[in-house]
């Protein structure tokens, strides 16, 4: 206990000593480097200086004071990236109206979320903390780095990552708003109209500001338009400044959103879940839309019955930039297993399978220039496994973010919480679940599992 507190105190000091992101330097010696983009390098070293990869090769020397990790017999891969999760945030759904483009989960980052540490223990160094799927237009999401140990929410943001927004198709927005409040959208047709209405309002909003800016030149007393964050965010999508990440299952509505985006000349589009993506893979590839899918998870509700474990492989072979995501605090701990399933179902190569959880999600989040592969000049976000990460026997040993070791299996303490309850002695395992399960993408799935295994929820 004493030791844990000391570690915590240390982290506490570190996080305040630097207002900026904490960065480290270290040398990883003599491992098998899986670069993902540029092949493998056996018995090689990787040098990290001030949070960046500066050298890769043999016989590298650690700068004075830098930590050295002996990776003999180990595999070094880029930190895993999850393009769809809800960890590290206090709020998932602002389910009060069909479009809440005005909200941003980045306002509610939660550096205390133990799920972030658990994700690190699965080699995951960054994730896409998303708004939920209760609304047709949810809200802006946040790409976070797993800098577990800081108390400052600001330090969790992946600084410079592009803005992204959550859209949702199908049953969830229909149920929450159509059935819940008897308003549009009660049908899939209605969902489309929420998008179109939102974009039309945004165009009118932009026009009103343009008029004002022109008017102001002649008349200093010109009246400003009323500020509306919802319209402003939708306008930023039209301007190409925000990537749409859309919760989707059925192929017909995937095509519907492609048509909407075509009409409004929106290029940056990623489909999430995309269970029927295999049916429309050529169309997605032609448009340049990307897909983030589950390896083999479906049938938790009606619109997800028509699914296949070959989905990721079919999309990949059709030229769609594809990733495998977790959407779960549990799956996020073994995304390397999820990626490996595409070798059983679709015979993807090692490099193709690893790309599904590294460089491809990085492309989908617009951060592939910085992370997603091991290359000189990129961020030192690294996972070290004791075996090949696509092997069922591989166990993550170290997870490094910006050159700082954030998970070290040999130093994994029993209690890794940054803050505990002052009144109840509890591990907090279910507390986070409870909060996040409401109207999330997989609503009901957890209850089914819990019932099945006879787990009692608190």
């Amino acid at each position: 206990m004493f030791k844990i507190l000391n570690i915590l105190n240390l982290l506490f000091l570190v996080s305040f000593a630097q207002a900026q992101v904490t960065k480290g330097s270290l040398l990883i010696k003599n491992g098998t480097i899986l670069t993902v983009t540029k092949g493998n390098m056996e018995n090689s070293d990787l040098l990290v200086e001030n949070g960046k990869i500066t050298k890769m090769g043999k016989g590298l020397v650690a700068p004075a004071g830098a930590q050295t990790i002996d990776a003999t017999g180990k595999f070094i891969m880029p930190g895993i990236i999850d393009a769809h999760s809800h960890i590290g945030i206090d709020v998932v759904n602002e389910a009060s109206r069909p479009s809440t483009a005005d909200v941003w989960v980045g306002d509610a980052l939660d550096p205390l979320d133990l799920s972030v540490y658990r994700a690190l223990a699965g080699g995951v160094t960054a994730s896409h903390a998303m708004h939920g799927s209760a609304n047709a237009v949810g809200g802006e999401c946040e790409t976070i780095k797993h800098r577990y140990g800081t108390l400052n929410p600001e330090e969790m943001r992946m600084e410079g990552a592009p803005r992204t927004i959550k859209f949702a198709l199908g049953e969830n927005p229909m149920r929450v708003h159509g059935e819940g409040n008897r308003i549009v959208p009660a049908t899939r047709m209605g969902v489309e109209q929420v998008f179109r209405k939102g974009f039309e309002e945004a165009k009118a909003y932009m026009a009103s500001w343009e008029t004002y800016e022109k008017e102001k030149v002649k008349n200093p007393a010109a009246v400003k338009p009323v500020y509306n964050k919802r319209h402003e965010t939708m306008a930023e999508i039209l301007k190409g400044n925000i990537i749409i990440h859309c919760h989707s299952y059925r192929s017909d509505e995937i095509l519907m959103l492609l048509n909407v985006c075509k009409d409004y000349q929106i290029k940056r589009l990623v489909f999430q879940h995309t269970n029927e993506g295999f049916k429309v893979a050529p169309e997605l590839a032609a448009y340049g839309a990307m897909a983030s899918v589950f390896a083999d998870w479906w049938a938790y509700k009606f619109e997800v019955y028509y699914s296949t474990a070959y989905n990721a492989a079919i999309l990949t072979k059709n030229g769609v930039v594809t990733s495998i995501n977790s959407d779960s605090e549990e799956y996020i701990r073994h995304l390397y297993h999820e990626a490996a399933k595409t070798q059983r179902y679709g015979s993807l190569s090692d490099e193709e399978a690893l790309a599904l959880i590294t460089i491809n999600p990085a492309k989908q989040l617009g951060i592939d220039q910085r992370v997603g592969s091991l290359e000189v000049g990129k961020d030192a976000d690294i996972a070290i496994f004791d075996g090949h990460p696509l092997s069922i026997y591989a166990v993550p040993q170290y997870t490094i973010v910006d050159g700082v070791v954030r998970f070290n299996r040999s130093k994994d303490a029993a209690d890794q919480r940054l803050q505990a309850s002052a009144t109840r002695a509890e591990t907090g395992f279910f507390l986070h679940k409870e909060q996040h399960n409401h109207d999330r993408c997989l609503e009901g799935a957890f209850e089914n599992t819990a019932t099945f295994f006879g787990l009692e929820r608190e």
Partner: protein, 595 residues
Amino acid sequence: MIIKDLIFSRWIYPLLKKEKVTGFFAFMLMGSCLFAQSGIPELMPVTQTYVLQNVQIVVRPGQIISGGTVIIQDGLIQAAGKDIAIPAHARKIKADSMFVYAGFIEGLSQSGIPRPESAAGATGARTPGGQGQQRPRVSDPWNPTYEESGITPYVRVRDVFKSDDKSIEEMRKLGFTAAQVYPIGRMLPGQASLVSLGTGKNADELLLKENTGLIASFSPASGAFPSTIIGVMSRLRELYKNAARLQEYQKNYSANPLSVNRPVADKCLEAFFPVLDGKVPLIFQSPDMKSVYRVQALKNELKFAVHYADVKEGYYVGDLLKAEGKPIIISLDLPKAAEEKKPVADSSKSIVIKDVEMDALKARTAEELKRLEGQAAKLAALGLPFSFSTVGVKATDIKETIRRMIKAGLTEDQALAALTTTPAAQLGVSNRFGTVEKGRTANLVVSDKSYFDEKSSVRFVFIDGKIFEYEGKPVPKAGGNANAAGKGAEAPKVAGKWSYTIKAPGMNSEGLLTFKGSGSDLTGEWTSSQVPGTNPISNVSVDGNKLSFTSNISMGSRQVSLDFNLIIDGNSLSGTVGVGTFGTFDVSGAKIDGQ
């Protein structure tokens, strides 16, 4: 603990005790305009000049005048120090060698603000926001009204404050003489004001300084946007920017009404104008460390003046708060250590299994509680001044909470500063309140020992020069029973069955109280129309005709403690019950089955 006006105590009260005279007095004074409606005489005292002699004057934290004299006249401190001539018409207060402090000020409070009726399910066992509860329907989810959104920054304290609310008296007898209070609500509940905790017919009589700040919190609306903290933050930005827009628009319009269309008035946006002008701060409730970071981010973005309020986890963000240098109001809502449930001894099991994991979790929990207790000491050590918020705190817990903070390293001087000089400075009223000096408003607390001594009692409180007198704690006679001490009165017969009614706004709770035994062995239980089952009663105490006891009930996941304070008169009882932090309500009842 009966409060007595001077005349009342000197003349009428002793007479009232003799029943025959009561009728005579009542007859004589009936219809007199000197009587307040309640029937309690509200007479001017013969003198408004008081003197406290040979007292320990705590002028301000760290500055004590021993054996000093304080003269109070016409609502002001006329003199405080040594070698002071005593005016002939001054009433001498029996306060020899007692401690005199400046009247305490609640940094943030809801004293005098009645709970809205919906929240007064006080004694009911309804689950707040529980599962299966229907989401309230909003007129138009796309455009909820300001009120549906919890946006009511136009609400003023003077519109909602109740000068006869019981909470005022509860705080006053602890030594609090003024409070920064604010209306109940959600993300923008209204404007805070500094009020006196004295007596007055209405809010205006007690108002000391209006609009001391706009209260903001992360508390979302129910069922309408913003229903989460991310909604709240987005909406706050929007309101702030549109308030600035409207202000500019109105300026342009008044400068030249012919050139632009008439701006539409908006009471919510206009409430932000003083904040935009830098005249008042946003008093932002930021209890946990994440809220503190979020408030800081919003402040950096929108550039409003901020007070960090209701802070509980300052232990973790001391350096941030120090770098900020903004006023801090820390919360007195300090959790208590979880009660250890002793396993029932089972002699058939000889092997005791040690739960190592649970022991580690418990140690961690205890460590966390220490951090919360140590917040005040830590901030003080960093040189940060702070005042105390009593929001959500039971009056009866306040003194003990401050003592726990002192035990965790806060000095008594630092605690006193948080009760006097710091809130006065934060509220911009240091020239009137916070110290015991000539010319200051005569708001004073007189305690028979150092206030922070466990055994101290507040004996006198002065507010605007008006005296409130309190009895000290009963001193047990050597070898005797304190309960039986009484004033020669026969101890009432408590044992038996009583019916009672608790009057809470919007709902009454009825039921039975059952007591067994006598003296210090009294035990009991109670039933209620609002709470299922029979609830045990604990801490039963009888002092003269006063009966007090407590009971804990579950309301959803929360444990709520009920504190009954009753007076027994033959076969009837009356008094009050404090229900957790929900408020204090009247109780009346009658014996239905004697023993």
